[in-house]
Point group: C2
Chain length 447, copies 2
């Protein structure tokens, strides 16, 4: 019986998002849908747009490179690197192997970990795996890294407003400022809510309303069991802040509402008039009127505890695997809330489905960590520096993307000037589908 | 600082292979190649053939079901289940979610783990992840299961002789008879030796000779560093038995030869005349003549230490993810070697590439475990009960498989009578690519 290291968790977070974006109100006009359908209906402001120079390998290279450089990590210090993604460029070879290019110069090729695959959930499983490695007898004292990267694309139509993408890298180690608490609950089931079975297309098969139902079922199960263990009667006793997997803003608000909904059913006596209504009429808040009552009831609490974690989701679109850590990063870097000594509830959902709920504890002496993360990820500045594309250019890129899906002998055409200085980009795909990447000089100009 | 459970490792092993096979000598005649090209050139006797009723989901369901039933495990006792595969039926939804159908009746949907993806290596990463989970603070006392399943298929031509497939399930827990030692070495690099980038095809892109070179480079690196830590001067000091990832028999013999080759270079004084030759002429055993000398030199040791682990590989073909545990199963179930108190070297290789070397220690009091595994996996009887297909029928199935790759609205046609009693099989793929499985009654007749 040997002892485990303590306080294993997140030492650093790094975000990467492309330079170009689309405005949701402009997409509403272009799509000839009701004004506000995307802006208020989904609650989304903008979405990230990729050109053909970037793919899951390149954005993973970029975010990992930036994580190592900004946190002064020598690649030799890393003993485990895992990728969570559902944007597969190959059915066999993992993105992880491509990331080894950042390790070659150091001579360190002994880096465990591959790709964890299940829709948007793979990254959280990768996080669990990496934390467990550090707590295991196989740990050799080195650091772990988890890269969560995806490009979310949908066919022409309303689902396209939920396009998005980006990459987040997490540095994992012992004595961390953000500690992963050991208590957690998971819920896994065999459903076809969102999946990618069509070999000829990058797009998913999707049933939006069924997927919402699956998300809420998994959320309810995980919360009910974890709250019972935790002994909390109300969501605000359970945790101080809330980060959810974020397909779009309104889904996250709905998730928060569901937690309060469950609280009201468990302890109506704590919820005044709403609790009385629920007790008398057995309210389930499923019809539109009752849901509106619930939505208004949760508003003040949501504003304090949930809303602060939503900036990146609203402006980058769906990051799939990266959506949950991007929510955490919004909370840390884009708000003035006091996180020291606080607990953050994290809920990850991956269609198909695999879901899990856990808690991050922010140690009281983490002020330097928070300041450093804000310097490393100047979210407002990053968002303001982006280049707006018009819906016509966005549509042209999507059409071209459809046409070129899976092609060999492929030469990307979008301007390298658009790529951020220091970022990696796809140079070409050769006649054997081998992919070649280059790094833009860190000091090079951008459009 | 909390204490870890001890002796985490393998509690049970279960193999599943289809009922039908092809004889390599018949394939040689059919392919009009030199007699012995497959039988002696590759060292392969037979290969497993799948019909259209079985896919990676169905064989994973079958092997998991059999593992649980034969070892008297209630699904509630399982807290983690991970799948290693490179035979993806979906780019997002994992086979793991399909396996949850075996948990529904028990009400236990809290089962962590997804798919670990990197060619043939994913399953070993899954094993590492599961062992680490049991040693971590998140462990809740339940068992882990790793399913390693693949179907290996190649286009018409010589590579098709290395077709194969099957599934292995490992039950993982503390106080195990087969203990995973904590010391291990890994080697990961970015290469294109074997990969699956073509969306329209199930077949890999493959450079056979380059892949052998990559395999041997990874093997050499892992062995040299692990032997240095271990302090052993000769391979027979290092471990008592040797299991390798097995694309085909001759590759495994070549891998064993490479270990001895490295021994000779490290300590020529221990290898008599061969050592003197190596010292004087700086032999690398790369040309054909020198390699033959080495091959004969290693023969007696190979016969005792390596050969016993090769039965399943030679008769089932390449199992990809399952190849390494099938090698272990050959050693345990098909030989009369004394394993008690012995150490087994395990080397996993996944193209792209990710590779790792570790050691399993068989505890001295494991006689009951070994007897039970032999009862659960009566290898000779399983192999003898198989149905031989002729090369024409094999080719018909492969051609049909090519045509139907990725289809929706698909009705399998091969006879259910061929399916083993109690096994799962694909009933249909509907118009939305949803896959439906049925279980053949355990007492049902077979062809």
């Amino acid at each position: 019986m040997a002892a485990r290291p303590s306080d294993v968790g997140i030492l650093a977070i790094e975000l990467y998002t492309p330079s170009t974006y689309l405005d949701q109100t402009e997409l509403e006009v272009f799509d000839k849908v009701a004004r506000g359908k995307y802006l208020y209906g989904l609650g989304q402001l903008r979405l990230s747009v990729f050109g053909d120079r970037e793919d899951v390998n390149s954005i993973s290279l970029t975010v990992l490179h930036n994580l190592l450089v900004k946190n002064n990590i020598n690649p030799k210090q890393v003993g485990r690197l895992e990728v969570g993604t559902e944007t597969l460029l190959d059915k066999s070879k993992s993105t992880k192997t491509v990331l080894m290019n950042l390790f070659k110069a150091s001579g360190n090729m002994d880096v465990e970990g591959v790709t964890s695959l299940n829709a948007c959930f793979g990254g959280v499983q990768a996080l669990y795996n990496t934390v467990a490695w550090i707590e295991s007898s196989a740990w050799d004292g080195r650091l772990g890294v988890v890269v969560l990267a995806d490009i979310a694309v949908y066919p022409k139509g309303p689902a396209r407003a939920t396009n998005g993408g980006g990459a987040v890298a997490l540095l994992i180690g012992a004595n961390a400022p953000l500690v992963l608490e050991s208590q957690r609950t998971s819920y896994v089931d065999d459903v076809y809510d969102f999946y990618k079975p069509d070999p000829s297309s990058e797009y998913p098969q999707l049933s939006g309303s069924y997927s919402i139902e699956c998300y809420l079922t998994a959320l309810s199960d995980c919360y009910t069991r974890l709250a019972a263990r935790n002994g909390s009667k109300r969501v605000e006793e359970f945790a101080d802040f809330f980060c959810f997997h974020t397909p779009y803003y309104k889904m996250v608000k709905r998730a928060f509402n569901r937690l309060v909904h469950l609280d009201v059913l468990r302890h109506p006596e704590l919820h005044g008039k709403l609790g009385e209504m629920a007790k008398e009429r057995g309210l389930l808040f499923t019809d539109r009127n009752h849901y509106s009552v619930l939505d208004r009831y949760t508003e003040p609490l949501w504003h304090l505890r949930g809303e602060p974690a939503t900036t990146l989701g609203k402006t980058l679109g769906n990051l799939y695997s990266g959506a949950l850590p991007a929510s955490l990063l919004s909370l840390i870097c884009d708000t003035s809330v006091d996180l020291l000594g606080k607990r953050v509830l994290m809920f990850s959902y991956g269609s198909g489905l695999a879901a899990s709920m856990f808690v991050l504890y922010v140690k009281p002496d983490s002020a330097n960590f928070i300041a450093q993360m804000r310097r490393n990820n100047p979210i407002r500045a990053i968002l303001q520096a982006r280049i707006k594309l018009n819906p016509e250019e966005f549509t042209r890129r999507m059409t071209k993307r459809e046409r070129d899906y899976g092609r060999k002998n492929y030469q990307p055409e979008d301007p390298v000037a658009e790529i951020q200085p220091g970022a990696f980009y796809l140079a070409k795909v050769d006649e054997k589908w081998r992919r070649f990447y280059e790094q833009k000089a860190p000091g090079a100009p951008r459009l």
